[in-house]
Amino acid sequence: MSAQASRAAAKPAIVKSGAAGSAVFPGSDSRKYNYFEPKGRKATHYEDMTVDVQPDPERYLLQDWIISFPDGTPTYSKDWTAAKSSNWHKFRAVDQEWERTHYQRQSTICGMVQNTIENGRRSGAPARFDAAWVKILQNHLGAYKHAEFGLGTSTMQAQRYGYTQMVNNAILTNSSYKLRFAQDITLYLSEIGLDLPGFDIAAGKQHWLEDPIWQGVRKSIESIMGSNDYLEQYFATNVVFEPLVGELFRSGFLMQAASAQNDFITPAVVSAAEADYERNLANTVELFHILGEDPTHGGHNIALFNKWLVKHADLALDASNHLQPIWSQPRVKVATFADALAHAKNRIKGIASELGLKLPANLAS
């Protein structure tokens, strides 16, 4: 007799308690969600919170979607991407985020960023930043925040279209991270601007819109925002733009150059985005790896992803090359554009190889 059964046997016939184990009957020990196949041996908490919440007529949606768009497209459609899958439900986000872990992580980052800025300002650090560096932060970090915002709004749009809850929630958290980081930079620059006479908070947007240095990046971002395929948006963001432009500028320039200009605040603010990206990348690689390995549609998908890679890599590479002059602007030069670009190319080479994609010639060199 199980422990549960022996406890129950000692109870009177009328059960007074609503607690687990106070009676034994068929189903009284069925204490796990049992309607999906966990990825591992046991379902993770993330899986329990996520799988099948967005229903699917091919699984349990008996009555099919009950409202359609006027052209007959249902509430969710597999046709919203050119990628195909024999099982859209296979994907699980590597970062396993559900609401609690997402807020914990975002909140920790907000606290870290805010403390760093406050303590830095309290110690008078911005006034000791090199003057040329202040201009770089004002004009170029100020311009870059719009790129992050563009990726945030683009992924916010994309999270409507995925065929499963797992896909959409991974894109949703990606959007949340990007939009937070765009705001982090905005508020950071606004706050150090209070300590820097003549700091022009509006200059960043002007550079974003008009400075030739930033027009390649803007075009690349607008191309991602302009895609009508949500998975192309997700792919272009994390497989192409982030390594070739985002990381290049964040890690390959800002985080390396800042300390030599007496700036210890910017790397801390920017580092959060690098950690965000590692998670977003892991989710992206997992999804596109599954699609690339799909037993039925793998070949089609790989050809599609190679096409997206060529298209967005051209734009991103052009964008990064346009950024080159920025590396010459700090008074103390500690990083070279060539090194940063070589690192970025290596990074995308690694990602493409993980996904079984063919690296375009302009990235191979």
Partner: protein, 556 residues
């Protein structure tokens, strides 16, 4: 130390104001010039005015605030277990949570998705942070509710029904009404769905009954977890109400939007009433064991939250902008609740269909009868015998109440619009749409399908408006099936392969539990198929007969 010296004064430094921070964040957007932004979900509305952000909050303060709210929720769940909450919880209540919590996470995440639809419609980016926060909020609500449900499953005496929750959601004849609610948030005209139906009506009006009134009833039944989770959820709603109102104000000044706004306010109100009042009214009135006569009935709660709070203080002021408010519908909804027993008839319907559900429904007792009669005079004459029948027929071996002709219940038509059955018999209507005949619970629902969800509204082309689709009559899915086979197909059977998940009582002894064999031998059928097969003359007779209603036979 000076009395006025505080740590805050020592550490404070000059910062930017909240309004300034919000302005700068709003300036992150720009109008693309290299590539046109991706197509988004279409709308027939015109939005030329930039919606204003009423909250002026930035993500830096949002995330820590939400984490703190989460900490309180999860701490309270731990405390409830340590305090042995489930020892004292009322199973009658928790059983209904199997239905409620199966439904609600999908509408929540649908609301997150719908932020993509409104995010790009309005000019400017002032409201982007508001939409972002709502998107993450709704992700919060969906997963925090899945967590609560798992918590019930792990700790409540009977986990069956929680264990199949999302599968059950897709299949059950009762959860189907929740899908009408959810899909309405994110399908069709983007403003109709994501602004008017979701934020202006569902969130501004009906979340108060969902997330405020219902948790109070949970607490009265020894369930402190639901109030903890849902009042925390509701605390996010004020942000969403702000988003909705701001978008509404951005559109309302353009008179060309008024016609569509009037259509959508009417549609959204009527459908929210039909769906939410059916479900939440039943949970509050029939899921409770608390019969304190001093507490508000669902009708009284509705008057407070929907009539006073929403209709009088939110909707009526819209008239000054030239919007024609659908006063008659508000009065009609009130009458349906107070005079036409809408909630009681819904509870009765759920109970008749208990065997194809996935939760337990026990009979109401003399103590309940007294309360109902006190709150709804005349209740006992209409429903008393029905509940006595339910108690009598709850024993395995009796004929399933769904098929028991001794009872006198007549199975209803399904409303093609709200998907709740046509329970108020005298209001039953039918009509043809695109050459096919459909049945509706009310004139409001007929209008919704035939007039609102169409390619043209009052002579104006509405190319973005959604359409009804799918197998909207649940009964049609199992037409001609033996009920036992249908239950098996639904997956509403316990792990032993024979005992039903649903039971018409709260007796937790195996010998008292119904199995497939107890219900086998009766066929399910689609009322609509039969109705469509009638000749026009036969149909008129059938309609007149249906509108007369039925009388439950005395139960001795």
């Amino acid at each position: 130390m000076s009395a006025s010296l505080t740590l805050n004064k020592i550490t404070a430094q000059k910062g930017i104001s909240i309004a300034e921070a919000a302005n700068r964040v709003a300036d992150l957007g720009w109008t693309p010039s290299y590539v046109q932004e991706a197509m988004t979900f279409p709308t027939d509305y015109k939005i030329s005015k930039t919606p204003r952000d009423p909250m002026k909050q930035v993500l830096r303060s949002y995330f820590p605030m939400q984490e703190e709210k989460d900490n309180r929720v999860y701490g309270a769940l731990d405390a409830a277990l340590r305090g042995d909450m489930f020892r004292n919880v009322e199973p009658r209540w928790v059983e209904w949570m199997k239905l409620f919590l199966a439904i609600i996470p999908f509408p929540e995440i649908s609301a997150a998705r719908s932020m993509a639809m409104v995010g790009r419609l309005a000019p400017g980016e002032e409201l982007r942070t508001g939409f972002t926060m709502q998107m993450v909020d709704e992700f919060r609500h969906s997963t925090i509710q899945m967590n609560l449900k798992k918590w019930y499953m792990e700790n409540y005496i009977d986990p069956a029904g929680f264990d199949i929750t999302e599968a059950a959601f897709g299949k059950c004849y009762a959860t189907t009404i929740g899908r009408q609610f959810a899909e309405g948030f994110l399908t069709g005209d983007a403003v109709t769905a994501a602004n008017v139906y979701l934020t202006v009506v569902a969130e501004t009006a009906f979340t108060n009954t969902l997330f405020v009134a219902m948790p109070s009833e949970a607490a009265r039944n020894g369930d402190y977890a639901l109030p903890t989770v849902f009042l925390s959820v509701q605390s996010d709603e004020s942000r969403h109400i702000g988003n909705g109102h701001s978008m509404l104000m951005a559109m309302i000044n353009d008179p060309s939007n008024h016609q569509l706004l009037e259509r959508d306010l009417k549609y959204a109100f009527w459908q929210n009433h039909a769906i939410v009042d059916a479900a939440i009214g039943t949970f509050i009135e029939y899921g409770t064991t608390n019969r304190d006569k001093n507490k508000e009935s669902y009708a009284e709660l509705w008057h407070r939250w929907i009539y006073e709070d929403y209709y009088r203080t939110y909707m009526l002021p819209l008239e000054k902008y030239g919007i024609k408010i659908h006063h008659d519908d508000v009065a009609a909804a009130w009458d349906r609740i107070v005079k036409k027993n809408y909630v009681h008839k819904t509870a009765q319907f759920f109970t008749v269909g208990w065997s194809v559900n996935f939760w337990r429904i026990e009979a109401q007792t003399e103590k309940d009868f007294e309360w109902f009669e006190h709150k709804y005079p005349g209740w006992y004459a209409e429903f008393g015998d029905f509940w006595k029948w339910h108690a009598k027929l709850s024993v395995p071996g009796e004929t399933n109440i769904l098929f028991n002709s001794d009872v006198g219940y007549s199975y209803p038509h399904r409303c093609w619009s709200c998907m709740v059955p046509c329970l108020i018999r005298e209001d039953f209507v039918c009509d043809e749409v695109d050459g096919k005949l459909y049945t509706y619970c009310s004139e409001g629902c007929r209008w919704t399908h035939k007039v609102a969800f169409a390619a043209e509204y009052e002579g104006r082309a509405t190319p973005a408006m959604g359409r009804f689709s799918g197998r909207r009559e649940w009964e049609d899915c199992y037409h001609g099936w033996d009920v036992a086979d249908a239950i098996k197909d639904l997956g509403f059977v316990r792990p032993d392969g024979k005992t039903l998940i649903a039971q018409p009582h709260l007796r937790f002894d195996e010998k008292d539990m119904w199995t497939l064999d107890h219900v086998r031998g009766h066929q399910l059928g689609s009322p609509l198929r039969g109705f469509r097969a009638l000749s026009p003359i036969e149909r008129e007779v059938a309609i007149a007969d249906y509108r007369k209603g039925f009388k439950i036979n005395p139960c001795h």
